[in-house]
Symmetry: D2
Subunit: 458 residues, 4 copies
């Protein structure tokens, strides 16, 4: 399952493929066939490994142009419904809106709002957890590959992608980046397998967009530290085994990360109930009432807000890919509906007002993916700036939300029936547009970069 | 002036530069400095030649990070005002809003609405005309380089870019693509030098978005053809020496192109007066009253609408780059204004509502350029589909128009003073959003590609 | 409970109140105090009776400027939770986001998705059902008063307003308008009391926006008619006692209405499950398999689509008021949140980006209500045109949806917690923007009125 | 020409007309015919006098449903072109896009950018200047009538309405409101006749949105005051005879108004050249270098910013009506064009994408006018709040700008030809959206009213 290779050779491969194309006058006047599902030919810019990842992890049961995508759906459906891969594949191949199976799957996605404990282990088996990390049983693939995985997962539901983002970017990343060898050995292999569930505690009840005002504290005491405070809107918290908690250290007023574990005295993590979005992903609070940990709980290389921001930047990068996948699923479903549904004796898809909606959405997908690809290439090359990630996170989340809502209307009355999926995606995307930096906060991050003036507190 | 090289080696160079970056864990955690003027590091994706073109053609008088851009302004200012390069450069270096010189330049751009006959020859000297053509005195550079040229020209004014687009994509391209060797020898070198001005006659008074209904006809007669009909909204027409005219051939009902020349009996090309946009670019009608041409006027490899569409696709690709340049100039100017202008004792640039406007605009520039870059790379590789060009033409023009209008408001009352430039750009961009396929027509071209159903006549 | 009076005297009252204001120069230079909750002073344009209705029906338990509004919430809460009015009022007066009671109420609204059988009888007691009808135990108030009722109900939930709209506009209205005296005597009093629940069957599985293609048929047989067909997205259907069903009459191909009753052989009305919106309002299908009815089931004055459209116009008018109420509740809640929630040491409400969101939303409320008021006055005077109703239905629903989504973002992460209400409203408003004529269909109705050209099938 | 009557009787008339309509059940089910040009029947809410004003001042030459509108065009055309009313009327009746006459008129409107000195005297003759003032030769009509006049004038050009707004609201209003009897006698009659041109000096080069930071000063000296400072973006300044200038009084730091006159030593008022909008309305700066005035120049009842704000509120109210007129003209012209222009063998007006644009624009007109009507009625009754005026000024200007730009695209390539008018209107509307309080500043004024928190300096 270790897919790591040399970054440089991968990039060469990509350019080679492009270079093999005929050049000169003849080439310039020839035209290729347009593929609406990949309007700007993203595929031609991927390395072989990246393409393989896109296709492979879904088990490859399904042939055809949508192999990877359907495979992903198929694989997750199989986990969620408890059916065999073959049964799920067969179901996928003949999927109809509103079928019984579909409703069964949907109930799991929306109505029950249950966390499926098999998801993370299955992801682990497929090498999807902490995939950019080298060693510790991780795949060591490129950041672009990580983005591709996020995109495929979020086609199914933003909640599954969220669960995996937290595990990979917010828990495994900081342990790998800021932890000791012992911490890495202890946690990374089991997190990579999905045996342990991770959570990331930064946001507090009174401090969402300004983590600098954090109230959670760490105090050094004999034999370790005492942590006090509370965190909220913490994904995975109610089922997490491992918590990366950020606290203000009383001895020097610097923010540092600590690894806490389920079962520690004084730590509770109740679920937030009745969410109207991301229902397959559990969210909770973390209350820490004088939780005592040893010195080995400290992530030693963390110091200041730069450390959690490093995690957020990794997660935000993945989100920028993921939301494009969710929007692609919305487009796919509304387009199919518009082709099948007739009004005034003609398919909806033949109406100008409908075509414009679909085209606007697909254009934003094409542009958003190109932008994230470039950020991913720069990230792989160590040349990314955090503001670039703010730009693609903000743009892609904002556009995915906006466009999913617009095309939702194509479904007419069926828009509010959850077996049509698009409304569920749109609700999810409202959350992705808000978490890990709201749309407005990222605007102000970029505004500061453009003007040199900070306007957060204005 | 011949800059041609091997496409493949250029592409390799680009990837090599990326590949030189450090890889692995260390790289992934490092951050680069953000450059708001190139948010996603487009520069890193250019070949050395492309970067050189961006910088060079402006004469390189001005150092610093904006060398190429200011150079372009400087060079054009020099031509337009008749001052020396050095004087223009000095003026550029100290440019202030509302200065006398600026007003002088502005009057040329807006008030006088005159075509400057020195512009095309100067462009010719710099190798900017027909730059992707190999031979005939053309530069033979990549399509991406062509896009970069369009972007720099349109920073100054969409009208100058329009003039050059017509010459390169709509006149030189079809002669090179569909003409005889004799036609190429006769016209291309002089067009490349800007000694001849070209025009492209497709649109008719009653047929803008549906050229298939063309009414202009060609009839074969002894010794050649007789052309009858009229064309309108033809850029460059009033000053053109060479007209590529499209006509429906009576003998087989196919559309073909013909090369007409100024002075032919029955051909007149009066100007359309009182335009409120693109005032430095002349526009006119072409009336053909039994214009008789020899057999050598026929572009022999044209047949059907595919031929003029090939020209339009080349031009549209360039437009998709150009409009981003215009929007960049708008951003640059409003940002500077917002930093200098104070209200309530604080710079405008420190207000949230102002920052959001600037950031939205810059984000669209970054995304639009990435998309056009990818389309350019595919075009260079002979893998482009016309719908891809529709997508970037439509998106970039639409976004440039929308965003330029929004940031125009930052100027407050000064928005309507032409020495602040942004209003002029916004008016120009309304035209670019409409010509060569309106925003809606491109939506329906893409809608047809997505759904298989045409909705143009709906 | 009969509130009927002379229309003309009411209108005079309204103008009198305005006329009592001082006039002339002195008046012109004075300024009144601005009330953000009623920005354009709608209140001053209401008759005394209308103001009384707004305040009274909520039982008047709560004093203060928001008496009517809170009363409505209080009254509905009392019904939904089964608590006493006093308890509910006390709860309202101290309501805090996220309180236990609030969650309890919310569970009823969202999670359980149960129809509350006490709601209609309670509405009946308050005179809210069929309120514009004179006689039969109905209140006989103005159309504006009907709109005010819809607005107050929808502050709580669009589903409650939907239930009442169906009863009043889609069931009682056609019986009153097109029925025999016997039909009126039989059904209206019990519908007015909420003893009977009504449903309206027009939309079919294959025909939403084009009811003219209706497939349900009525065939005349000995002793009556046989009805065959199916209807879908029928509000109240699963619990309805009385169904107004529209069918194509085989004998003359005209569409007519029939009154069917629960329990008739061949009639079934299963619920549509798992809706993501309007969860307190039941929706279902109606299947009619050779349902035999007597001649007295025919609504004799119906003939052609004009009859159901008359019902829809009544309902759409009410919706145009209702959605403004939902948006007002969203504004009220997000504004309170923004005042209480601090980030960067300042209330959210002090940020420019937040203020702009709130102001845009409130402006649309103010404009939408003025427009609906004028349509109501014209409706009362018999001078309304259906296109006017299309205009306010489309505008108010579209704006309510758009603005509720924008201000939802003010809640940040809490947006997806249902106890903050706004996300629930936004989901509901997506449905109101679609049902009873989608936004696009109303655009085309108005487009036809403006151009004389129909474009529905384009 | 004195049209003054009792306000109360007017209001009664309006309600009487409504009351005459049949009431009750029969009325409720009848439908009126829809008039797309007056979608919500504004006409039915006007007093007879107001309707008369709308129709009369244009001289009534033209019969038919558009009498008032065409008359206004006709009257202004007559003045601008120097032709007789009859000739202009005949021209109007047969107006075609692109006709010679039209071009002639257009040249006056755009290309020449000249102030027409006959306009104000002609307006004076028609009673359009200072029309709400009683006495001094003014008409003494309602504020709604004032709004109707602004709407008709701005159908032709925002510049003409601006000229009249300045004269009426910014010069005659403060003299009438804050002046001595002597000042009123001296200036008002001649201003009302258009013999004198007025200007209003509040905005300064460094202080647009925050007049509180004003730098112009008044110092009391023997025999009067000395005024120093500069004003900019002052409409009418280059041709003004009378200037109402606001200055910070050194003796008590309060802002007061002074009446200055052309020819005073130290006062110059050069024009701002090369505007790209409002070209028929002159704009200039006012420089005051120790201008000495007598005590009688002081407007004695001014004190503090409330005084100029009173003027701005009067002007802003008129603008809210005027911009609706400009948008109505844009709709009228693009609709006609869309009906006449065919593409793909069908009129543009039959395309869904075109209908939606027209309908969105017309809806905003209908809503905007209803809102302004209500504000006007409250203003007449002395019950208006300044924030109400901010709301309609901001909304109507913003919507007019947005919608005019959208429908401009219907003209395709012709959009940039000034004889199609719409581009000119759109450019004008950018200015109206900015002057007298930018869109954002009014948002923050309303934001403060909604939240109690000021965010101007944020």
């Amino acid at each position: 399952m270790n897919l790591a290779r040399q970054q440089s050779s991968r990039l060469l491969n990509a350019s080679m493929r492009a270079a093999h194309a005929p050049v000169g006058r003849r080439a310039a006047s020839g035209f290729a066939k347009f593929n609406w599902e990949d309007p700007l030919n993203l595929e031609s810019q991927l390395t072989e490994e990246e393409t393989a990842i896109r296709l492979r992890y879904g088990t490859g049961l399904l042939p055809g142009p949508n192999a990877g995508r359907d495979a992903c759906n198929c694989w997750l459906i199989s986990v969620v419904t408890g059916e065999s891969h073959a049964a799920s594949a067969s179901w996928m191949a003949h999927r109809r809106f509103g079928s019984q199976d579909c409703c069964h799957f949907q109930r799991k996605l929306i109505v029950d709002a249950e966390f499926n404990h098999d998801i993370l282990p299955e992801m682990g088996k497929l090498g999807l957890l902490g995939p950019t990390i080298e060693g510790y049983g991780c795949a060591g693939v490129s950041n672009v590959a990580y983005g591709l995985i996020a995109r495929e997962l979020e086609r199914v539901d933003s909640g599954y992608r969220s669960t995996s983002s937290v595990q990979s970017s917010l828990v495994m990343h900081p342990i790998n980046e800021f932890g000791t060898d012992a911490q890495k050995e202890k946690y990374l292999p089991r997190l990579a397998k999905g045996e342990l569930v991770g959570a990331f505690g930064l946001t507090e009840p009174n401090h969402g967009s300004d983590p600098g005002s954090m109230e959670t504290t760490a105090e050094e005491v004999d034999g370790g530290f005492i942590i006090n405070g509370s965190k909220t809107w913490i994904s995975n918290a109610p089922v997490a085994d491992v918590f990366v908690i950020w606290a203000n250290c009383k001895w020097d007023n610097k923010i540092r990360g600590f690894i806490l574990e389920r079962g520690m005295k004084g730590l509770t993590a109740p679920a937030i109930k009745n969410k109207i979005a991301l229902r397959v992903s559990l969210t909770g609070s973390v209350f820490m009432d004088s939780v005592r940990v040893g010195h080995d709980a400290l992530l030693p290389r963390t110091k200041g807000l730069g450390s959690p921001f490093s995690c957020l930047n990794s997660a935000r990068f993945g989100i920028s890919w993921g939301v494009m996948g969710a929007l692609e699923d919305c487009i796919d479903r509304t387009r199919t509906y518009a082709l099948e549904r007739k009004q005034f004796k003609r398919p909806l898809a033949s109406f100008q007002l409908v075509q414009k909606k679909l085209v606007d959405a697909q254009t934003e997908v094409a542009l958003g993916l190109q932008a994230s690809l470039q950020v991913g290439r720069l990230k792989d090359a160590g040349k990314v700036a955090p503001e670039m990630i703010s730009m693609v996170k903000r743009n892609n989340c904002g556009k995915a939300l906006q466009q999913s809502r617009i095309i939702l209307d194509i479904l007419g009355g069926n828009a509010c029936a959850d077996e049509y999926h698009v409304g569920r995606h749109a609700n999810n995307l409202q959350v992705t547009n808000t978490y890990e930096g709201t749309n407005d906060v990222h605007a102000l991050i970029l505004g500061k970069a453009m003007t040199g003036l900070q306007a957060f507190a204005n």
